[in-house]
């Protein structure tokens, strides 16, 4: 009997201990005021590369302020879910990177610190930042939910040797020229241009720009989803038709989502790609900077500019502060440090992006032709994705619709205006009702 009693006591104690551990998580929230937790998005070729780039800068910050920053680099595919979980549980980092297109969506959860005049003053004021980058920091008319950290834009990258072999003298500037060049390049198992058909965000970036060129925005002025307008349907169809009708995209691209189109480009299998700052990836795949050229992304006619001649979305990363941080002062210091001229130059050089801070952009390191194209695009002809709370859902549902249309095209099924419209209709119905 004594043995049984001992066993019972043991089991009960064990279970209580178990329960206590299960409930007692979240030591992160108890962080001392002298530390900060920072979730960085994966920018470099790997998580390790990011740690190598960021750690010395964080050490420098600790030296200057005495505040230790605990770094965690999070892969893109997990980032939004991790932020959502942190929002629900209230147990997030103090500072985090967000994709700038999500700004309005995350702003609507109320989890991020609003950058009112006082907070902005603490980091040197709003005027330090380029206007186009500020356009992707939250719903217009509200205090920004984040501040810009790295800026990027789409450009057309072309394989010089393949262009030479196909007898193409200069990089295309309009969509007609892209098609013509693509047809010359698409032979002997090679193809004209690469796409990432199964990458939802990339699909959105491309059809958003084409939508602008067709005069469509995917959202009405008062923020309601408008996916089935003639312009939106034409934009999606034009993009999928690169594979379905023009045949300048290899069918295999329909299942690409891991930057395989960049490998194809580096292996001389694809002549062109529309991308944001791929130079690091090209060199890691063994392609030297002299082997590729860069030109502004194509427009319907003439030259890129405002309105219908928009040729890129404003891409980039923003830095946000979790509202329930226990170290607001330290967090503001950290944002000020990361957006200072010196850090902007160091970090944007390391990642091949352009600083969204005006004074840092003047550094001669960003005058190279490949970055000049991006800088000019951001200054003159890039548009921010709709800054509405439902933006992240839009990426999912319309991105999925485009993925399914590419799957149809790859299987040889016809992609018609009706089939495109039906997919977009279905996508629109999946959006949350207000």
């Amino acid at each position: 009997m004594r043995r049984v009693r001992a066993a019972v006591t043991g089991v009960v104690t064990l279970s209580l201990a178990f329960t206590a551990t299960a409930c007692g998580g979240g030591e992160g929230s108890e962080s001392a005021p002298k530390t900060l937790t920072y979730w960085a998005s994966n920018q470099g070729a790997s998580l390790e590369v990011d740690k190598k780039v960021l750690q010395p800068e964080l050490d420098q910050f600790e030296k200057e302020t005495g505040i230790k920053v605990k770094l965690e680099v999070i892969p893109w595919s997990d980032l939004l879910n991790r932020i959502l979980t942190a929002t629900t549980s209230g147990q997030g980092p103090d500072i985090l990177n967000i994709g700038n297109t999500w700004s309005a969506s995350l702003q609507s959860t109320g989890a991020l610190l609003p950058w009112d005049a006082k907070n902005l003053e603490a980091i040197g004021g709003k005027d330090r930042f380029v206007d186009s980058a500020l356009g992707s920091t939250g719903v217009p008319g509200q205090d920004p939910a984040a501040v810009p950290l790295y800026s990027m834009a789409y450009a057309l990258y072309y394989n010089k040797q393949m262009f030479k072999d196909a007898g193409i003298a200069k990089p295309p500037t309009t969509w007609d020229e892209v098609t013509a060049a693509g047809k010359k390049l698409s032979k002997n198992g090679k193809s004209g241009i690469g796409v990432e058909g199964s990458n939802l965000s990339n699909n959105i970036h491309q059809v958003f720009v084409l939508g602008k060129q067709h005069g469509a925005d995917f959202f009405t002025a008062d923020g309601k989803p408008d996916f089935t307008s003639d312009g939106a349907v034409a934009a999606v169809k034009q993009y999928v038709d690169l594979m379905a009708v023009q045949k300048i995209v290899a069918p295999g691209n329909a299942e690409y989502a891991q930057n395989q189109s960049l490998s194809d480009f580096a292996k001389n299998k694809t002549g062109m790609v529309l991308w944001q700052t791929p130079s690091q990836t090209f060199s890691s795949q063994g392609m030297g900077p002299e082997e590729w050229g860069v030109a502004p992304a194509p427009v319907p006619s003439g030259k890129p500019g405002q309105g219908a001649q928009t040729n890129s979305m404003v891409a980039g990363i923003n830095l946000a502060v979790f509202k329930n941080t226990k170290n607001l002062d330290g967090a503001l210091k950290f944002v000020k440090y990361m957006t200072s001229d010196e850090e902007q130059i160091v970090l944007n050089k390391a990642y091949g992006s352009v600083p969204p801070v005006k004074s840092a952009q003047k550094d001669p390191g960003f005058a190279a032709p490949s970055l000049a194209v991006i800088r000019d695009t951001l200054a003159t002809s890039a548009a921010a994705l709709p800054q509405v709370p439902e933006e992240s859902q839009f990426e999912t549902v319309v991105g999925t619709a485009v993925k399914e249309l590419f799957a149809d095209a790859a299987a040889g099924r016809p992609v018609t205006t009706e089939s495109v419209k039906a997919k977009l209709e279905k996508a629109q119905q999946q959006m949350p009702k207000k």
Partner: protein
């Protein structure tokens, strides 16, 4: 889990009383009655905490208008009555249509996957019943899919099924010359078959293991007697093996059914966040409705509907099989 917890605590009740205990029969009798419940208590508490509380929260959420605006404090979200359910089962609108399609796909997928897992597992277990050289090696080999971490295994399959660089097309198209061009396995209609292959590969070793354990309980002399009466291998399987495995199979099929119907890992790792329409299993569909489009209320309503369906199916199944057992016992 619960069954073993019930089985053991009852043991002391049938144990012969020691002389010391005989002196105070009433008190120890009460203790004996209390003991099993006491031993169950920790498991019950944990079950409550881990399963029941979230389940009740999920049910509450399904009656709320829960979008991104309220996820920080979902208690504040306005009540929406049955709106989420109406959206989920409105089969004329895209959300309902997609849910119904996903449900039917999952039903077909589950029937095929469970059937194949059971068949392969049973066949292999029977085959390995006889002692022969290499039996131990084969037994170990067959359990490899069960022992591997799901994520690592499925991601390897995803690589093999890639159209341009994958092993499957290399063998089927390049070496055996099947098809005019390499097929797509991870997008389009073929995705269903891809998912089935991976699911069966992953699931059948469990059936194999369970049936193998069940076979140990069949007395060898039954086979010997049958053989003496002139029954061949097939007759022995039909009249001895399968009927003797009845109770094992009841549990096995139920467990495989529940696991397969709810399988999230396999499609998620294989296809990512957006599964192709042909392979849009219901758990991934609900995940996408909740976490990708941030319709948490509708997603919860879908989960509750799924739970009800599984409860009904399980209930009917248990009722039918236990009735069958009673009549066969008579």
């Amino acid at each position: 889990m619960t069954e073993t917890a019930v089985a053991h605590p009852t043991e002391p009740a049938v144990r012969k009383a020691t002389p010391g205990e005989a002196r105070a029969p009433r008190r120890s009798g009460r203790r004996r009655i209390a003991l099993p419940y006491l031993l169950l208590l920790p498991a019950l508490l944990l079950e409550l905490l881990v399963h029941l509380v979230p389940m009740l929260m999920g049910i509450a959420m399904s009656f709320k208008e829960l979008t991104q605006f309220y996820i920080r404090n979902w208690g504040e979200a306005p009540w929406s009555g049955f709106d989420n359910y109406t959206v989920a089962i409105d089969f004329d609108a895209p959300v309902g249509q997609a849910l119904l399609k996903s449900f039917l796909t999952t039903c077909l997928f589950t029937v095929l996957s469970v059937g194949l897992c059971w068949f392969l597992g049973t066949a292999a277990a029977i085959f390995l019943q006889e002692n022969f050289k290499g039996r131990g090696f084969l037994r170990t080999l067959f359990l490899v899919p069960y022992a591997l971490p799901v994520y690592a295994a499925v991601i390897t399959w995803a690589f093999m099924f890639q159209r341009d660089n994958g092993l499957i097309n290399h063998v089927l198209h390049d070496q055996l010359g099947i098809g005019d061009s390499p097929a797509f396995w991870l997008i389009g209609d073929n995705a269903f078959w891809t998912l089935l292959v991976v699911s069966v590969w992953k699931g059948w070793p469990f059936a194999f293991l369970t049936v193998m354990a069940g076979l140990q309980n069949i007395p060898r002399d039954m086979y010997e007697a049958a053989a003496l009466d002139g029954a061949g291998v097939w007759k022995q399987i039909r009249h001895i093996t399968l009927p003797s495995l009845r109770s094992v199979n009841q549990v096995l099929v139920l467990v495989l059914f529940l696991w397969t119907f709810n399988d999230f890992n396999t499609p998620f790792v294989l296809f990512g966040k957006a599964a192709p329409e042909a392979a849009d299993l219901i758990s991934l569909h609900i995940y996408q409705s909740s976490f990708q489009t941030w319709n948490f209320g509708t997603g919860s309503a879908m989960s509750v509907l799924l739970l009800l369906f599984l409860l009904v199916v399980t209930g009917v199944y248990l009722l039918l099989t236990s009735r069958g057992r009673k009549t066969s016992d008579v």
